[in-house]
C-alpha cells in the first residue's frame, strides 16, 4: 500500500491474525462480550455468503448427474443414480470436445503472443528514453478504459477484409491486441522496479540489446510474467464478447460461445441434463486449477488494482 511501485503483491498470509504485535491484555468484561458477539455475528454473515456462493455451483454439479424428468420435476432432489451418460453425450454429441480444443488453441496462441509482445513493448517503454515514449505508453494504457464494443463494429469489417473472420489465428491476433493495454501497463511498472546494474554489466560485456533482454531481463521478470500471464489466461479463457462478434462459425466456436449455443440447441431437444454436464465440464478444470494455484491466481488477478 505504499506509494512506491512494488512487485506483484502477495495476498495476505492466510489465516494469520492481522498483526503479531502483542497487546497487553485488557481486563474489562464488557470488551470481551462485545468481541464474542461480534465474532458470532461475523461468522454468521460469512457463512451465509459462503453458502450462497457454493450452492449454485453444487446445484449445477448435482443436476449434471440427473435425468431430464427429475431436473424439471424436483430441481433440488438428489440424482436417483449417477447418470454419467449425460457427460459422455455432452462431450461427443454436443461438441464439447471441439469447443475445448478450439479454446485451448486460441488461448494458448494468444497467451504466448501476449506475453512476448507485451514484455517487448513494456521493456522498451520502461527502460529507454526516446521521443514519443510517453505518448505510446498512454496510447496503450488508454485502451483499458475505452468501451471495446465501440471498436468492435469497425473491427468486424477490418478483420473480415483481411480474411481473418472466423479463423483461429484471426481470433488469436485480436485477443493479443486487446490484452496488450493491461499487460503493457503491468509489465512496464514491473521492469522499472528491476535493477539496472545487471543489464548494464551484460551490455558492457558486449551483449546486444536484444540478447540482454531475452537472456537477462526476461528471466528476472519471471514473477511479473507469471502474474500477468494468469490474469490474461483467465481473461482469454473466459472471453465472451470478442468471439461472439468475430467468430460466428459453428465449427470454430470457443467454450463460452459453445455453451450458449448448447443452451439453445439442447433446449430444442429438451436435453437439459446434457447441457448441465457441459457447463460443469467447463467449470471444473478452472476451479481445480484455481484451488491448486490459489496464491498465484489471487496475486495475478488482484495485481493491477493494488498498484
Amino acid at each position: 500500500m505504499k506509494t512506491t511501485e512494488t512487485t506483484a503483491p502477495v495476498p495476505a498470509e492466510s489465516g494469520m491474525p492481522v498483526t503479531k504485535i502483542d497487546a497487553p491484555a485488557k481486563g474489562p468484561g464488557r470488551e470481551k462480550k462485545e468481541g464474542t458477539a461480534l465474532n458470532v455475528f461475523s461468522h454468521g454473515i460469512l457463512i451465509v455468503w459462503a453458502f450462497m456462493v457454493v450452492m449454485p455451483l453444487l446445484w449445477a454439479v448435482m443436476t449434471s448427474f440427473k435425468d431430464d424428468a427429475s431436473i424439471f420435476g424436483s430441481p433440488w432432489s438428489l440424482p436417483d443414480k449417477l447418470h454419467f451418460s449425460n457427460w459422455s453425450r455432452a462431450w461427443t454429441q454436443a461438441n464439447m470436445s471441439d469447443y475445448f480444443l478450439n479454446t485451448l488453441l486460441v488461448v494458448g496462441g494468444s497467451l504466448i503472443g501476449t506475453l512476448v509482445l507485451g514484455s517487448m513493448a513494456a521493456y522498451v517503454l520502461a527502460r529507454f528514453d526516446f521521443p514519443g515514449n510517453r505518448f505510446i505508453y498512454f496510447l496503450f494504457i488508454g485502451g483499458m478504459s475505452f468501451p471495446i464494443m465501440l471498436a468492435l463494429v469497425p473491427l468486424f469489417y477490418v478483420v473480415n477484409n483481411m480474411g481473418l473472420l472466423n479463423t483461429i489465428h484471426g481470433l488469436i491476433l485480436v485477443y493479443i491486441a486487446y490484452s496488450l493495454p493491461f499487460t503493457v501497463f503491468f509489465l512496464t511498472a514491473f521492469f522499472r522496479t528491476l535493477p539496472t546494474s545487471v543489464a548494464e554489466a551484460a551490455f558492457v560485456d558486449g551483449a546486444s540489446h536484444s540478447r540482454t533482454f531475452f537472456q537477462i531481463m526476461l528471466p528476472m521478470a519471471k514473477p511479473g510474467l507469471i502474474s500477468v500471464g494468469i490474469f490474461n489466461f483467465l481473461g482469454q479463457w473466459n472471453q465472451y464478447m470478442l468471439p461472439t462478434v468475430l467468430n460466428t462459425d459453428p465449427d470454430k466456436k470457443v467454450l463460452t460461445q459453445g455453451l450458449v449455443q448448447l443452451a439453445v440447441s439442447q433446449g430444442y431437444k429438451g436435453d437439459w441434463s446434457g447441457l448441465f454436464a457441459g457447463l460443469v465440464m467447463a467449470m471444473l478444470p478452472v476451479l481445480a486449477a484455481y484451488i491448486v494455484f490459489q496464491r498465484q491466481v489471487v496475486a495475478g488477478l488482484t495485481a493491477g488494482a493494488l498498484k
Binding site: M1, K2, P11, S14, G15, M16, P17, V18, K20, I21, D22, A23, A25, N39, F41, S42, H43, I45, L46, A50, V53, V54, P56, F72, G73, P75, W76, V124, I136, L139, S145, F146, P147, I148, M149, L150, A151, L152, V153, L155, F156, Y157, A177, Y178, L180, V184, S208, H209, S210, L234, Q239, Y240, V245, T256, Q257, L259, V286, L287, T302, A305
Partner: protein
C-alpha cells in the same frame, strides 16, 4: 551506440504497436468517423450525413432506456458490490474473537477458507455464470422458485427474468454475485497491510468497531477502493453487462426492453439490424458515459494520500 539503440527500440515496438494500432486504435478512430455517415455495414457504400445519427439517437426511446439502465448499472453495481465486499472483508479481518493476551484485533478463524470460496465465481466465465443463473431463475423448474415452494411460499413465485419489473434486478444480482469475491480478496490484502497499532490506539481511546472502520480502515484503503470503483464501473458498462444481458434475458434485452443496456444496443444495431453507423453513434455515447464516469469517480474521490 545511439544507432543500435534506436534500431532496437523500433524493432521491439513495431510488432506490438502495429498490432495494437491496427486492431484497437484504428477501429476506435474509424467508429467515431462512421457515426457521421449512413453506413449500413452490409455494403461498402456510404455518405456523410452530419449529425443525423445523433439527432435520431436523441429521439430514440430505446436508446434512452438503455442509457438509463447503463447509468443505473454504473452507479448502483459498484456501490452495492464494493460496499458489501468492504463489509465482508472487515468481518474477515477484524471480526475474530479476542484471545487473552493476543492482539487487539484478529481475523476470524478460517479466514483463508472464506477468501478461497468467495473467489470461486471470479475464475468462472461470466458466460457460464449467466447460463447457470438463467436456469436457476426459471419460474417453473428453477432452483430459486423451488426453494420458495419448499419453505412454504407457494404464492410467491416470481417470473424473475420474465417480469419487466424484476428482470433488471435479477440480472444485477448475478453481476454482484460473481464480482463480490474479487473485491473481498482485494480489500483483505489491503486491510492486512494496515499496521495494527493504529487499531490498538483507536480501541484504547474507546472507539467502537464501526468507528475504527470509518476512521481507520476506509481512509487507509481509499486508493484501492477508488481504483476498484472505476474498474467495476467499466465492467458494469461494458463486457460484464453485455455477457449477462445477452445470455440471460429474453430478446435479448427484454422483456419489453426492461433490461437493454447500451453495449447490447450497439451490438444489436450493428450485427442484427444492419445499421452499423447508428451503432457507432450509440457507441460514442457509451464512450462519453464511460469516460465521464471514470473522471467523476477520480475527481470526487480525490483525497490527501495517506502514507503509513
Amino acid at each position: 551506440m545511439q544507432h543500435g539503440k534506436y534500431r532496437f527500440i523500433v524493432g521491439f515496438l513495431a510488432a506490438p504497436l502495429g498490432l495494437y494500432a491496427l486492431f484497437v486504435v484504428w477501429p476506435f478512430i474509424q467508429s467515431i468517423y462512421y457515426s457521421f455517415t449512413d453506413w449500413t455495414g452490409l455494403s461498402p457504400e456510404f455518405k456523410m450525413v452530419g449529425f443525423d445519427n445523433y439527432e435520431r439517437m436523441l429521439d430514440d426511446d430505446i436508446f434512452w432506456k438503455s442509457l438509463q439502465h447503463s447509468l443505473f448499472f454504473a452507479l448502483l453495481l459498484p456501490l452495492v458490490t464494493i460496499g458489501f465486499a468492504l463489509f465482508l472483508a472487515f468481518m474477515i479481518n477484524v471480526g475474530g474473537r479476542r484471545r487473552k493476551g493476543g492482539p487487539a484485533i484478529t481475523g476470524v478463524r478460517g479466514s483463508s477458507f472464506y477468501k478461497i470460496v468467495y473467489f470461486f465465481p471470479q475464475v468462472l466465465s461470466i458466460a457460464i455464470v449467466a447460463l447457470l443463473f438463467a436456469f436457476a431463475y426459471n419460474p417453473d423448474s428453477g432452483a430459486i422458485n423451488s426453494i420458495l415452494r419448499g419453505i412454504g411460499l407457494d404464492s410467491v413465485q416470481p417470473l424473475w427474468l420474465g417480469d419487466p419489473n424484476l428482470a433488471l434486478w435479477a440480472v444485477m444480482a448475478v453481476i454482484v454475485w460473481s464480482t463480490v469475491g474479487f473485491f473481498v480478496v482485494l480489500f483483505s490484502a489491503g486491510m492486512a497491510s494496515i499496521p495494527a497499532d493504529l487499531y490498538e490506539a483507536a480501541l484504547l481511546d474507546g472507539a467502537g468497531r464501526a468507528t475504527t472502520f470509518f476512521r481507520i480502515t476506509l481512509p487507509l484503503l481509499w486508493d484501492t477502493v477508488q481504483s476498484g470503483w472505476v474498474y467495476m464501473g467499466i465492467l458494469a458498462l461494458g463486457a460484464e453487462s453485455f455477457a449477462v444481458v445477452h445470455i440471460m434475458t429474453t430478446g435479448p434485452g427484454g422483456p419489453d426492453y426492461s433490461t437493454t443496456v447500451m453495449v447490447l444496443y450497439v451490438y444489436q444495431k450493428a450485427f442484427r439490424d444492419g445499421q452499423a453507423a447508428y451503432a457507432t453513434t450509440i457507441g460514442v455515447a457509451l464512450l462519453i458515459v464511460t469516460l465521464a464516469f471514470a473522471a467523476v469517480v477520480m475527481r470526487l474521490g480525490r483525497r490527501e494520500r495517506l502514507e503509513f
